[in-house]
Amino acid sequence: MALEITQYLLAAQSPDAKIRNEAETTLGQFREQNLPGFLLSLSVELSSDGKPTESRRLAGIVLKNSLDAKEAATKGNLVQQWVAIDISFKSQIKNSLLKTLGSSVREASHTAAQVVAKIASIEVPKKEWPEVVGLLLSNMTQPDTPVLLKQATLEALGYICEEISDEDLVQEEVNAVLTAVIQGMNVSEQNSDVRLAATRALYNALDFARTNFGNEMERNYIMKVICDAALANEIEIRKAAFECLVSIASTYYEILEPYMQKIFELTSNAVKADEEAVALQALEFWSSICDEELDIQDNELPESGNSNPPHSQFIQKALSTLVPMLLETLLKQDEDQDQEDGIWNLAMAGGTCLGLVAKVVGDLVVPLVMPFVEANISMSDWRSREAATFAFGSILDGPSIEKLSPLVNAGLDFMLNAMKDQNSHVKDTTAWTLSRIFELMHLPASGLSVVTPANFQKILVVLLEGLKDAPHVAEKVCGAIYFLALGYEDAGPTSSLMTPFLTDIFSTLIATAERTDSSDSKLRSSAYEALNQVVRCSNLPETSQIIYRLLPAIMSKLEQTINLQIVSSDDREKQGDLQASLCGVLQVIIQKLSSADDTKPVILQAADQIMVLFLNVFACRSSTVHEEAMLAIGALAYATGPDFEKYMQEFNKVLEMGLQNFEEYQVCAISVGVVGDICRALDGKILPYCDGIMAHLLKDLSSSELDRSVKPPIFSCFGDIALAIGEHFEKYVTYAVPMMQGASELCARIDTNDEDMVDYGNQLRRSIFEAYSGILQGFKNGKAELMLPHAPHLLQFIELVAKDQQRDESVTKAAVAVLGDLADALGSNLKVMIKDSAFCTELLGECLVSGDDQLKETAMWTQGMIGRAFSVCG
């Protein structure tokens, strides 16, 4: 029986926290004690037109959330709970929901449509609610159905199509659903609300209509109806129709050819003359086509089969009319688009699309864009100058360096001068264009760069000056400095160019980070990120003294954050962000200075102070910092080596906390990585902490809550621990090895059609091998016999992996290495197990002829170990 719960639903929305909490508790108890009754009560609440909108709204939300959740495990539980409910309750709830579809309150019928679809998504595939589609369709075919019911019914049908697969229904039903939807969209539909609902329903049903799209006649008809809707009188219908076209661009790229002429007309008219909301969707159509063609181009392998859809060259064919259309949009900037987040206008969408077009067609775009740039870049109207600069910046990625070099070389000076333009939009876009130039045309490592010893000083003076400009301009300049520095990564002595300016760069970036005139923290984090890149790329022998001075400066800034007064959660968040940035800088400095013997002592001297700082940061307990400080500590442990031991007692608490952080899995992953760092730093001295660490790692592995990406690193970490503590790993074998065996069996069951899973499987395989390697090497001098019982399972796993055609090279390396470790540790004991294992010979043979020297070396070593195992008598 349904209970009266209106008062609780209203109270649960009270501004008074006490009342709210009490109501939530009551509802929670009801739910706990009697889920079927609770859900029924909610559905009755939702269906009752006499009830207040607020309580009906909440009833709908709670009902929806009782059937679906984002997180897969939670969702699975909810589905099970629903399935377990008595059938009589379920049909009462469903009837109540179907009745609500006809409600005069749109919000209620809309929510009911969503909930109906959720239930259908559970029951239709199990054939437990076979009548639902028929019931809904009858709403559409009966001549006297009220408009509101038709609208909600179309919504429900659209959502159902989105939730289930067309294979869950018989083809006649699929056809009937689409017929109903298309009919609703047709020009003949008098009621525009119904037509809009039908157009949106089609959007949700596009995937579902796969078979119908495969049939030329049906496809022609669907496309005609969409194109007609794109010309409807109502803007919402036109917008919804273009949204359908955008979705079709990516879902059905390969069938678009015959319709492109028509679509081009529609989109270009919309861009030129329609309302912005419609025009934006029309531009998005072309951006989606670009995405598709880029995807095809990226996957085009010279000898691949026909698995890729054919490239129809839509962009290239439309180029000469498409580009002028896009250039026109660039002149339609908003007055304050650079200051405010959340703006998306025609100029932005057009420029973005132009950038994609340049990537698709390369050189061909240049002669179409340059006349526009030249004609507008010196105009008195800021819109023209900004549009010209934006156009130039947008085509830098795609065309060849040969084609762009002369243009960029000729234009660089102009750009540098334009940083003094009186209009801040122009400066913003100029700074962005400079950062693109440095990102794409500044490659000193390969000897190609627009930056030369002759113009370097001028560039830097302009950039450092630009850091003092409006916050949004300064932020773009940070990007330019980032890429300017990045070019010198791995570029050897050319980074000396930066040396004379380094002190200035550091101090100006720090001053920029401390600006208080910025509305958010973006400028600050951009400034620190640029600083990080400059530190990474500086020429260490020349600049060590300057970096030494940076270290205490950053440390004292971090110290100041610890004593910040925290009143609100907003303060807490700001403190966390600031600490994250500063810990990031410290990590980069630690890494830089510990990379050379000459400069490492500076880190070792400061290690005590740095460690105290980090521990204080942890004490502030903000999770973003946690992660950054953890990363930095890994770098510190690597630098200090065995001396890290003295921090372990304190740090261990934080480490264990990190290892238990399931929710923020990145934190957990980084903590696992740091365990590895510490193992290598402390070697056997990590032993006293291993019980705690291993307990957490084992718990992490068995958790279904923890993101799966953390699990492979945990196995690798077993190897690190075993290698560090040697035979003391004995006590963990009975827990760790079964986990490894279980995971290796899981590898065999991975779906090979799912690329992500294949990737994950490879990581898992590699990490399991690394775990075995560490244990075998750790046990080799005395406890090797402990691994004897597990050797056959491992050998089987290696064999399985060896025979896998999709095996990744890193997995091969790990497999070959662990085979050698097995032979090394078990010696002649291996003989009986491996006697007629041709796969070893085959695997080694494959590796010995590999072009990868590391792999070859490992294989040689393994061959040597197996040879030795076989040559020893006994």
């Binding site: 989105e162 951006s287 913003d428 962005w432 890429f483 990120e529 990363l631 590895g676």
Partner: protein
């Protein structure tokens, strides 16, 4: 359910420095893990035992004889599990005795081995002093074949000088089999016995050479000499012993003075003492020293041999088992004041080696005296035979090439037979 917001990243560079910091940490961790495991794998072999000395107690000894020689307590040097690392730290006489036994000694090529082109490598042997080079505890020592010290110097080999601070110094040492070439003061490495603590004894030639080539260059030992690296090390160009390879080794230009060719069986392990799996061969084109010289550097009219006196008066070669060239009667031995184990020099009368069924039956020898004091070993049978052949009917390069040619033919015909 709602169409996605078409908003795309706008004027934002697509980078995340935080992601970059994560990635760099992950790379560092992966690299360090590789290094740690790699180290564990190399260290694996340091405690491996070398050839067991006690087993050879009944065999004749070849040690350098010195006037002040005292019998050492056997146990001191002949401990069963004698570890390379301990050996590397041996000093003085012990070291000489030990190292004198460790070199792998090629036999002389008296006939062409089967499958020369498929199973063997060939390279041009540098003229110079054969020696062991050992780097450990921050110093590098080279020892001649008789165990005597050649140089003590800093080198870029792992743990070969105080300056190259390898992180686990105590464990890390190297033993290389080299020829020191006087003219350019360079050590030419002809084999690798231990590298960075990893023993190569049980590894195939193929592996040793591969490791040698990749590791030696990596260590910086091939660079020009400097105060921390007194002598340069070089590897030899090793060819497959097929037609082209053999011609290249034989006639190709090298930076050193050639002294014959070395042939290595690809599948052989490094063994101390004589082995038929490494062979040396010479002719006048590729060596100035085809025929042995006497103590004055002259080629004697008659071939000379150094043999070892056994306790029953028999005269034996270095081989195991030894080949007996004759027998001295006890009167003669007494008259000479010789004792068991002494090395004695003889000349072979012209045409005076007598064979039966391919075995040496008897040799006409003339006693010349005791060989040079530095001499540690008797001649091997193959050496005597090669010298003998060189004076009478030498094995020529054409023979080697022809043998490769004919084995190629054979393979082709065998294939054809199988097809037929």
């Amino acid at each position: 359910m709602a169409p996605p917001d078409p908003r795309r990243p706008f004027k934002r560079p697509a980078f995340s420095d935080q992601q970059k910091r994560r990635d760099i940490s992950l790379q560092r961790q992966a690299q360090n893990r590789r290094d740690a495991q790699h180290q564990a794998r190399c260290l694996a072999l340091t405690t491996m035992t070398l050839q067991n000395d006690s087993a050879s107690a009944s065999e004749p000894e070849y040690e350098l004889r010195e006037p002040d020689f005292e019998i050492e307590p056997e146990a001191a040097v002949k401990a069963r599990d004698f570890d390379v690392r301990e050996a590397a730290s041996l000093r003085g006489r012990e070291a000489r005795r030990w190292f004198a036994k460790q070199l792998m000694l090629p036999e002389w090529m008296i006939d062409v081995p089967d499958r020369l082109s498929s199973d063997w490598y060939a390279c041009a042997r540098p003229a110079g002093k054969r020696c062991f080079v050992v780097s450990s505890n921050g110093v590098t020592v080279s020892r001649l074949r008789n165990g005597g010290l050649l140089h003590r110097f800093p080198s870029a080999l792992p743990n070969g000088s105080r300056t190259n601070n390898s992180n686990r110094s105590g464990q890390s040492y190297c033993i290389l089999d080299c020829i020191f070439h006087e003219a350019d003061q360079t050590y030419y490495v002809i084999d690798m016995v231990c590298w960075a603590g990893m023993s190569m004894y049980e590894c195939t030639t193929e592996f040793r050479f591969f490791w040698l080539n990749s590791k030696l260059a990596e260590s910086g030992a091939c660079t020009d000499p400097s105060p921390q690296h007194k002598y340069a090390f070089r590897t030899l160009v090793v060819y497959n012993s097929d037609q082209e390879g053999l011609k290249a080794a034989y006639a190709g230009p090298v930076s050193y003075l050639k002294d014959g060719l070395l042939f290595y069986n690809k599948h052989a392990h490094y063994e101390s003492g004589n082995t038929p799996l490494v062979l040396v061969w010479k002719d006048e084109n590729c060596s100035q020293y085809v025929l042995d010289t006497d103590s004055k550097g002259q080629i004697p009219d008659q071939q000379q041999v150094v043999l070892e006196l056994l306790d029953d008066g028999r005269l034996a070669t270095l081989d195991d088992p030894p080949v007996i060239f004759g027998c001295l009667n006890s009167d003669f031995i007494q008259k000479m004041g010789s004792q068991t184990g002494d090395l004695l020099r003889f000349s072979i009368n012209e045409g005076a080696l007598y064979f039966k069924d391919g075995q040496l039956e008897r040799a006409d020898l003339n006693y010349l005296g005791k060989p040079n004091r530095a001499r540690a070993f008797a001649d091997s049978y193959s050496k005597v035979m090669f010298q003998y052949a060189a004076r009478h009917s030498p094995l020529r390069i054409e023979h080697l090439l022809a043998s490769i040619e004919s084995s190629n033919h054979q393979e082709i015909t065998t294939d054809a037979d199988m097809l037929g």
